[in-house]
């Protein structure tokens, strides 16, 4: 697992405020753009004045470099083109990795849901600086980037600022597809939806969760009364304005019993959605605290998963199964099986060593590997 943030072991920061920098090893960049870059020092050899910051993973003992940050070894994956945030305190965050096909930008930790299995537990603090950073980040992201994601918290809590962000993304990264994770409730407001639609982004998908066809159950999972109706209304509005919607269902003990009915509900009421993602549970955040209420071994629900996929695909709905291991699903799910989204998060356990399907298998989130995974992991031979 990669360490996405860390603190400099030692630094000499004259930065007055946090800044975003593109990592580079190239000295001799034109003077006019140098300040956007953090020069990755190869000892002292490539040192040159004028860069926004200097970083290294082994200590470079030169005293007169301003804004020099000596970073922990775990972060040495950072390379040419990656984008980092440096705080005057010496805290470093990796915000954008050029070799990752799915970069997700956290916009806020605030949320109007409080999901039982939230991997990013909401905090009720003003973190609008995250939005400022996201806006700034857009200016640094290369134009060839295929996709970026925005997540939270609940990004739409920003209201019009959220619209501005997507609009800026469209203007500045005209060829980049966008995924937004949202609970969709903000779109129950037609005016907001019409503003969003007016951006006219060529490919911006809203990933919206529906956890049950039973409103009480959905509201329970997200811990918010009235959530179900607003989310459904939001989806209807988005579709009325021809926006792209993906429905996301996390499978756990509270959603499994009505998973098939929920898929039937989607098929009969929301047939027009662009994609449905059925996802395994990630062992992050609240999930661990609520494990008793949430954990069910994927092996135990594999027939239900097959049925759910069958219902959706039968209606012609684009369906994907994420975050599952090949040895705990039925073969009929294979056409919809996706190796996990993040190409650097997945890991494997001992049993996998002798497995013939390892290269096709998504494996585990590192959190699952550490915390809880199926008792039925078995090499496929």
């Amino acid at each position: 697992m990669l360490k996405l943030h860390g603190s400099a072991i030692s630094h000499d920061a004259t930065l007055m405020q946090r800044g975003l920098f593109i990592v580079t090893k190239k000295s001799e960049l034109p003077r006019t753009i140098k300040s956007k870059y953090a020069l990755l020092l190869d000892n002292y050899l490539n040192y040159e004045e004028g860069y926004g910051a200097y970083i290294s993973f082994s200590e470079v003992k030169i005293s007169n470099i301003k804004n020099y940050f000596y970073l922990p070894k775990e972060m040495d994956y950072l390379g040419e083109g990656d984008i980092i945030r440096i705080e005057p305190s010496g805290r470093i965050n990796s915000l954008f990795r050029i070799n990752s096909s799915h970069n997700t930008i956290l916009l806020t930790e605030q949320c109007n849901h409080y999901c039982l299995m939230c991997s990013q537990p909401p905090k009720n603090i003003d973190d609008s600086w995250l939005m400022d950073d996201a806006m700034a980040l857009l200016d640094l992201i290369p134009r060839e980037t295929r996709n970026i994601g925005f997540s939270g918290g609940e990004p739409t809590l920003y209201g019009d600022h959220f619209i501005d962000l997507i609009n800026k993304t469209k203007l500045i990264l005209p060829n980049t597809t966008v995924d937004v994770l949202s609970n969709g409730r903000a779109f129950s407001d037609s005016i907001f939806t019409s503003k969003f639609a007016a951006i006219n982004h060529f490919d911006c998908v809203l990933g919206i969760p529906i956890y049950s066809d039973d409103p009480a159950r959905h509201d329970y999972v997200v811990q918010s009364k009235g959530a179900f109706d607003e989310t459904i209304l939001g989806i209807l509005n988005l579709k009325k304005y021809q926006q792209k919607v993906e429905i996301r269902i996390v499978i756990h003990k509270q959603t499994i019993d009505r998973l098939v009915q929920t898929c039937e509900f989607i098929a009969s009421n929301l047939l027009f959605v662009d994609h449905v993602a059925l996802m395994g549970l990630e062992m992050m955040g609240f999930t661990r605290a609520n494990l008793d209420q949430l954990w069910i071994d994927p092996f135990e629900y594999k027939d239900i998963l097959s049925e759910a996929v069958d219902v959706l695909t039968c209606y012609g709905i684009n369906t994907s199964v994420y975050n599952h291991q090949l040895c705990v699903i039925n073969d009929d799910v294979l056409p919809n099986y996706k190796k996990s989204i993040s190409d650097w998060k997945n890991e494997y356990v001992d049993q996998c060593d002798s497995c013939l399907k390892k290269s096709e298998c998504g494996g585990f989130f590192s959190s699952s590997k550490m915390y809880r995974y199926s008792d039925h992991i078995k090499a496929i031979i």
């Binding site: 407001d189 037609s190 209807l236």
Partner: protein, 99 residues
């Protein structure tokens, strides 16, 4: 063959009984009359109908009256919302609140 059934007019509506009769039109003919508190059904069967069939027919008929009564309750309660939904279906805008 004939049979007589008496229903409490305070409980069942003439309409429900009529509808139940209609649904059994292929089995027998009914003459309905109403007094103060009763609705009387005078039922005539074809000659070819057997005793045991008659029993079944009458049984089914009474169940049908109960069902019609339920249907009446449903209709009474849902007529308004049904018209509302139909009206919205055939109008340009949806039911979405902030439009």
């Amino acid at each position: 063959m004939e049979a007589n059934l008496i229903f409490d007019a305070n409980i069942y509506s003439i309409d429900a009984i009529k509808k139940a009769c209609y649904r059994n039109i292929n089995r027998f003919a009914v003459n309905i009359s109403k007094e103060e508190d009763t609705i009387n059904c005078n039922i005539t069967f074809k000659n070819t109908v057997t005793e045991s069939q008659i029993k079944i027919y009458l049984d089914d008929f009474m169940k049908e009256v109960l069902d019609q009564d339920l249907r009446e309750s449903i209709k009474k309660e849902t007529e308004g919302v049904r018209n509302l939904i139909l009206a919205h279906t055939f109008s340009k805008t949806g039911l979405i609140k902030d439009e």
